[in-house]
C-alpha cells in the first residue's frame, strides 16, 4: 500500500532510500509517498507541482507493480491539487516503464528523458495545427518556402522584439512566434501575448502562438526564472531544446529558429550556445540576429522594466511600440508596474 511520508522519521528514511538508488534527494515537494514491505521502504517518489521526481524502486522489486502503485497515487494526489497534466524526468532506460503507465515520451536527450501524463501535448499540437491551417487557408506558404520560429518571453514586447520578428520574417516564408506561456514574469501571459500580436499585426506571414509548458517553462528550463546559478541548468536547457527539435518544430513544420544575440545575460547566452549545439541535429538551422540598439545599448525588455522601476516614463517611447506604450500607461499596465518593485530574478 502506498502511504504518504509525513513524519520527519519517514522523510529521513525516504532520503536514505532515494540516495541509495543513486538519485539526489531534493527538498521542496508537495507530496512524498512510499511503499513499505516488512518495515522497510521498497519504493518512494515525490511530486513538486506538476513534476514527479525522485521516483525510486528497490532493485529487487522492480519487475512488479510497485511503479504503477506509486505513480498512480502521485497522479491522484496531483489531480486533487489541480494538476491535470504531470511530467516526469527519468533516465532514458526507464522511459518505457512510464510509457506502460500511459505517460508519453516528450523528449530524450543524453542522460534525461521527459515524459508527460494527461495528453496535454496532443491538445497543444492540435490547437497549433488548427491555427496554422487557418493561416494556410488565408495565405498559403509558397512551395519550398521555409517556416521559421522565434521564442519570446516579451516581458514586455519592445522595438527589439519587433525588429527581431521583422528580420526573421523577411528571411522565411512564414514565421511562428511562440510566446512563453509560463506565468512567472512581471507581465502576465495574456498581456504579453496580446502585445506581441498587436506589435506584429503588420506582418501577414507571422503567426503568434504560445509555447505551452514545452519551451522555456518552469518544467523544461527552471533556471531561466531563477536568479541563482544552477549546476543542472546546462542539462535542462539542452533537454528544452531537444524537446523543441523533437516535438515542437515537427508539429509546426519549423526548420529554422531565430534568436537575438545576447550581450548581457549569461543564462540566455548559454541558451543560445546550446541552441547551436543541439538543434542542427534535428535539421533545424539556428540563425542569430544582432540585437537592435538605441544609444549604444540593446533595446531590451529589461531596459523597459528598469525605466518603469525608476519612473523614467520619458524613456519608454524610444523602447516600445505605441501598442505596448499605451498598455504600460493604462490602468492594467500601472498595476503591473506597482508589482515590478517586488519582482525577483533576471527574467521576472
Amino acid at each position: 500500500m502506498v502511504t504518504q511520508l509525513l513524519s520527519s522519521g519517514d522523510v529521513a528514511l525516504a532520503k536514505a532510500f532515494i540516495e541509495a538508488q543513486g538519485l539526489a534527494f531534493e527538498p521542496g515537494f508537495d507530496d512524498l509517498v512510499g511503499v513499505f514491505e516488512g518495515g522497510a521502504l521498497v519504493a518512494a517518489g515525490a511530486r513538486a507541482g506538476e513534476v514527479l521526481k525522485m521516483v525510486a524502486i528497490d532493485p529487487a522489486h522492480q519487475s512488479g507493480a510497485l511503479l504503477g502503485e506509486l505513480v498512480g497515487e502521485l497522479v491522484r494526489l496531483g489531480r486533487s491539487a489541480g494538476h491535470d497534466g504531470l511530467f516526469v524526468f527519468t533516465r532514458p532506460a526507464h522511459a518505457t516503464s512510464f510509457e506502460a503507465l500511459n505517460f508519453r515520451l516528450l523528449a530524450s536527450h543524453a542522460t534525461v528523458a521527459l515524459l508527460e501524463y494527461g495528453g496535454r501535448f496532443e491538445a497543444w499540437q492540435a490547437a497549433a495545427r488548427a491555427a496554422l491551417a487557418a493561416l494556410e487557408a488565408r495565405r498559403p506558404l509558397r512551395p519550398g518556402a521555409t517556416t521559421g520560429a522565434v521564442v519570446v518571453n516579451a516581458n514586455p514586447f519592445t522595438f527589439g522584439h519587433q525588429w527581431l520578428v521583422e528580420q526573421a520574417a523577411a528571411r522565411c516564408g512564414r514565421l511562428v512566434v511562440l510566446v512563453v506561456r509560463e506565468d512567472r514574469s512581471a507581465f502576465p501571459f495574456e498581456a504579453r501575448r496580446r502585445l506581441v500580436r498587436q506589435g506584429t499585426r503588420h506582418l501577414a506571414e507571422v503567426l503568434v502562438l504560445d509555447t505551452g509548458p514545452y519551451a522555456v517553462s518552469a518544467v523544461t528550463f527552471p533556471a531561466y526564472f531563477l536568479s541563482r546559478a544552477d549546476p543542472v541548468a546546462g542539462i535542462q536547457m539542452e533537454l528544452d531544446l531537444a524537446l523543441f527539435g523533437q516535438r515542437l518544430a515537427p508539429a509546426l513544420g519549423v526548420t529554422r529558429r531565430f534568436v537575438g544575440t545576447e550581450p548581457r545575460c549569461a543564462t540566455t547566452r548559454a541558451y543560445n550556445a546550446a541552441m547551436r549545439r543541439v538543434l542542427p541535429a534535428f535539421g533545424i538551422e539556428v540563425v542569430e540576429l544582432p540585437r537592435l540598439e538605441a544609444g549604444g545599448a540593446p533595446v531590451s525588455a529589461s531596459a523597459v522594466r528598469a525605466a518603469l522601476l525608476s519612473g523614467d516614463v520619458a524613456a519608454l517611447p524610444a523602447l516600445v511600440p505605441p501598442s505596448t506604450l499605451s498598455y504600460l500607461l493604462s490602468d492594467e499596465g500601472r498595476a503591473v508596474r506597482a508589482r515590478l518593485g517586488g519582482a525577483e530574478g533576471r527574467h521576472a
Binding site: G68, E69, V71, G72, V75, R79, D84, N102, G118, G119
Partner: protein
Amino acid sequence: MKIARKAQAGTMQSSDLMVALEPADELSVEIESTVKKQFDHLIRAVVDEVLARHGVTAGRVRLTDRGALDYAIQARLETALSRAAER
C-alpha cells in the same frame, strides 16, 4: 445525472484504469490506453453505454487504461460519476 465537480476513480495498475471527470459545457471522451490500437472502439462503446445509462450529456471524461476488462471500466466510471454528482 450531471458532472458537477472534478472527480476521479481507479488506479494505474495493470488491468485497471484511471477515470477523471470534470464539468464542461459539452460531452467529450478522451481515451489513453496501452491497448488503444486494438481496443479503443470497444472501450469507447462501454464508456458511451455507461454515460447514456446515467443520462450524462456534458462533461469531460478522461480515461487512462492499462487493459481493463469491461466490468472494470463500468465500475470505475460509475464510481467516478457518483463522486462527481451533485450532492
